[in-house]
Amino acid sequence: MEILNITKDKIRELLEKGRRIDARTLYEFRDIVIEENVSSKAEGSARVRIGDTEVIAGTKLELVEPFADTPDEGILVVNAELHPLASEKFELGPPDVEAIKLARIVDRAIRESNFIDLKKLCIERGKLAWGIFLDIYAINDDGNLIDASAFAAVIALKNTKIPEVENGKVKFGVLSQKKLPLNEPPITITAYKIADSFILDPCSEEQEASTLKITVSITYGKEPAIHGLIKDGEEPIETEKLFEILEILIREGKKIHSKIK
């Protein structure tokens, strides 16, 4: 179902009066529902619903050889699947550009914020380390898959347990009580521009009407720090507007941050 131009016109018209099609305020998120451990076979997993948008993220751990350029670190591999079960817009096959961009945003948020202490996941320098394979599946796309995916990824990593090892081999299905070595979690949040307004957490109709988006990953230490920032969409942006939006994102992201406990 492609959204009709008439719907886009309606969305723009309402926004001119500061209103949204589902009566939310501009920066208001839909309800966020978190469910942990959705697959007991996974080392960690989480389901996140934001309104009708739903994603499941899960981790699997393997013993691997560290990369040559980081011999004293574990490995993180993030993959995102925009599966056709989640939307008529998605197709089967290898990840397309949207899936790749989504995975790389989540990867960047985790990596650049040092959320996982990868150095602690090295067992023998240059020889053996833990590899974390984090896969994100879209279940239902009603807009804002980016924020939902990044959120689910952080929660799945938080409840991940390291498998037992025997004679240098992983005992699959037997988890220890040891959790991953983690630091301050990153929050990833996106602003969408429609006509002259910026909104957060769009539903799919709003997302399709948008011409510019700013995604930022933030940690809230003593002072907020930005770890990933991407401008996407066909429209360019003025510097002043960019910083105005970044300030809003940092403020609103803090509210989501409080949901991670």
Binding site: N114, P224, I226, G228, L229, I230, K231, T239, F243
Partner: protein
């Protein structure tokens, strides 16, 4: 690089780019082409089009379709890069398209496609910025109607210093903290439209405060204006 008075590893000032080399008409077969280098980060770009787009159902009767393809030569990096698109190159191709999209007057060429191909001959960080500068000049040299040129440069924070045009050495700069080596670089790719004064690409990796980000972007904008002058000078020779 903790002290502001210090110079950079290669002796540059904080607001100094590496040697810029720019040329157009470097691929005769193409409708437009350009070469752009920041030191050892060398990009070559070719534009084919506007040309008929097949299969026909992909055509847009209202405007041209812009397609961008970025990749690196296998021997452009220390460890051989497997030829063919990677996740990174697919993401960068999309970013180059986003950077160029606002300036190309696509409505003038309905039903056609404009293909932009950029290859990296040698990589020493900031390759996507070199690629955007080359692509922008290649489009102009192909006679594609544009509202202005697109200019790009990397800016960032190395240690505590805000610098422009990071080299690979700077991109991998690490500091010792609690006996461990940690990455101490923030790298920002910025594409700026010097006439309309807008940002068409922003991609940040690292860790930076809002005030530092502002400082970095202001520096990048200043340098982009200088790069635009170089691009224009080179394009003028073409006429």
């Amino acid at each position: 690089m903790s002290d502001k008075k210090e110079k950079r590893p290669d002796g540059r000032e904080f607001d100094e780019t590496r040697k810029i080399e720019a040329k157009v008409g470097v691929i005769k077969r193409a409708d437009g082409s350009a070469y752009f280098a920041f030191g050892n980060s060398k990009a070559i770009a070719a534009v084919y089009g506007p040309r008929q787009l097949y299969p026909q159902h992909l055509q847009n009767p209202k405007k041209a379709i812009l397609r961008c393809f970025y990749d690196m030569f296998s021997f452009s990096v220390a460890e051989r890069k497997k030829p063919g698109p990677s996740r990174r190159s697919i993401e960068i191709s999309d970013e180059i398209k986003r950077a160029l999209y606002p300036v190309v007057l696509l409505e003038n060429f309905p039903n056609t496609v404009i293909d932009v191909y950029v290859e990296i001959i040698e990589a020493d960080a900031s390759t996507r910025c070199a690629a955007i500068n080359a692509a922008s000049m290649a489009l102009a040299s192909a006679g594609v109607l544009m509202s202005e040129l697109v200019t790009a440069v990397s800016v960032g924070k190395v240690g505590n210093a805000i610098v422009v045009d990071l080299s690979q050495e700077e991109e991998q700069y690490k500091i010792k903290k609690d006996g461990k080596e940690i990455k101490a670089t923030t790298d920002i790719a910025l594409a700026f439209l010097p006439r309309s004064k807008k940002i068409s690409l922003l991609h940040l990796d690292g860790s930076i405060k809002l005030s530092e980000l502002r400082e970095a972007i202001e520096l990048g904008k200043k340098i982009c204006t200088k790069i635009e002058a170089i691009q224009r000078q080179v394009l003028k020779k073409l006429e």
